[in-house]
């Protein structure tokens, strides 16, 4: 199947063993409000799908927090996680409200309300671009 796969990224077409590699990228669509520019969130999502990266995309972190969704605990328990969403202070306390506090030093929150899609994607995929395969 034809893909525009970046050669510096892990090859997604190579069947590999099914191992425990958790997702390290979380993308919030902020689906129920118009506070993130559509062109930014669309471009970030598009580039993520083309990147070959494993990621989790959620319709709305606020909604998950209000529901105390256990998936937030699973995500917060990752060794390192990069989150594309909105203001870091808001994201931090949304996780906390769901009893899923984010780790202090191993989380990077990218703000799609103020940063460009390019900046966000670059930061999200940095480990991949450096040739490092997430463990």
């Amino acid at each position: 199947m034809a893909t525009n796969h970046d050669p510096t990224l892990p090859d997604p077409t190579t069947p590999g063993p099914v191992t425990a590699q958790p997702a390290k990228i979380l993308y919030c669509r902020c689906a129920y409000a118009k506070v993130i520019a559509p062109e930014v969130k669309d471009e970030v999502l598009q580039r993520l799908t083309r990147s070959g990266a494993t990621f989790e995309a959620v319709p709305d972190l606020c909604e998950m927090s209000a529901r105390r969704d256990p998936a937030l605990k699973r995500l917060a328990a990752e060794d390192e996680i990069k989150i594309a969403a909105c203001y870091p202070r808001a994201v931090k306390w949304l996780f906390s409200a769901a009893q899923a506090p984010l780790p202090k030093d191993t989380v990077e929150i990218l703000n799609m309300r103020v940063d460009s899609a390019g900046t966000v994607v670059e930061r999200l995929l940095q480990a991949y671009s450096n040739g490092e395969k997430p463990s």
Partner: protein, 297 residues
């Protein structure tokens, strides 16, 4: 807290047994699912779902004649469903997702704009002004700590409680501007907040007592003046000021409880407090007197 039932989650399964979706198709499908309110895990080569805790998952992929690889580690009540989406258009895939959701009897995702306050506990001083101010029971107290307990009670687009917080500790992540939207709190924000309406000071420290007093005064004034049109004008002026200063939507102003409702609520709160005090008094009285052992003698 809103419905505790977890929605159906979607896995776009592109592991060994499932061939890759094309990039554009992958993007369009992911975007459509997200916009319909489904969370999507993109599972690629050399990866798996991670430690799935619970809930129901629908794995979509091109599985071919061999079918999907056997699911691993799906204990703990996790339900897995598979659908081969080879040759299906995005709309057909969405139909298939809805079909599975129907089978699972899980709730329809979306349908509620998640608008509610989020407390920044690095700033909150537990002053309870938000609790006193909010008339919709959004806030509650657990182990003497203020909490957001009824998110869905919050009135959409109303940031009023964040406006009365003296510490800029209440966020509404979907609000248009900072610092209420979670943007960094700057010195000028703190200075501005200090000038906000201090509800306690405004009402003399006893919110419900003051409301009762105001109501009594209003009754007396209206009974002597009998000027209902003037009262209406005053109310409109007051509402306009609230709307302007606090950015409160009309819908919220229209749904504010009447003075009678507020009084009733105050009576209920007072009765609850009295009952609690009585209970704690009873507990104290029923405790045996400390023995010498208790005192370490």
């Amino acid at each position: 807290m809103i419905t505790p039932k977890l929605p159906l989650r979607i896995g776009l399964y592109q592991n060994g047994g499932s061939r890759l979706l094309g990039d554009d198709r992958h993007y369009n499908l992911t975007r459509s699912l997200l916009d319909k309110g489904y969370a999507v895990s993109v599972i690629r080569s050399d990866s798996r779902l991670g430690p799935v805790l619970d809930g129901a998952w629908l794995l979509l992929g091109h599985f071919g004649k061999d079918g999907p690889l056997p699911a691993m580690g799906n204990g703990n009540g996790v339900k897995l469903y598979f659908r081969d989406i080879e040759g299906l258009e995005t709309s057909q895939i969405l139909d298939a997702v809805e079909e599975v959701r129907g089978e699972t009897e899980l709730p329809d995702p979306g349908g509620w704009k998640p608008w509610f306050p989020v407390i920044d506990y690095n700033r909150c001083t537990n002053c309870m002004q938000c609790l006193s101010f909010c008339l919709f029971d959004v806030y509650g107290v657990h182990e003497e700590k203020i909490q957001v307990q009824n998110e869905s009670n919050c009135k959409t687009d109303c940031p009023a409680c964040s406006r009365v917080c003296p510490e800029v500790a209440i966020l509404f992540p979907k609000y248009k501007s900072g610092p209420i939207n979670g943007d960094v709190v700057r010195q000028e924000d703190i200075q501005r907040e200090a000038m906000k309406v201090d509800i306690s000071a405004l009402l003399g420290g006893d919110l419900y007592g003051s409301l009762r007093q105001r109501q009594t005064e209003a009754r007396q004034r209206f009974s002597t003046e009998r000027d209902e049109s003037r009262a209406l004008l005053e109310r409109k002026k007051c509402l306009r000021k609230l709307k302007k200063d606090f950015d409160i939507p009309d819908e919220v102003l229209m749904s504010l409880p009447s003075a009678g409702d507020i009084q009733e609520r105050a009576e209920r709160a007072k009765a609850k407090l009295a009952a609690r005090q009585e209970r704690s008094q009873t507990v104290r009285d029923s405790r045996p007197a400390p023995s010498e052992d208790d005192w370490g003698i």
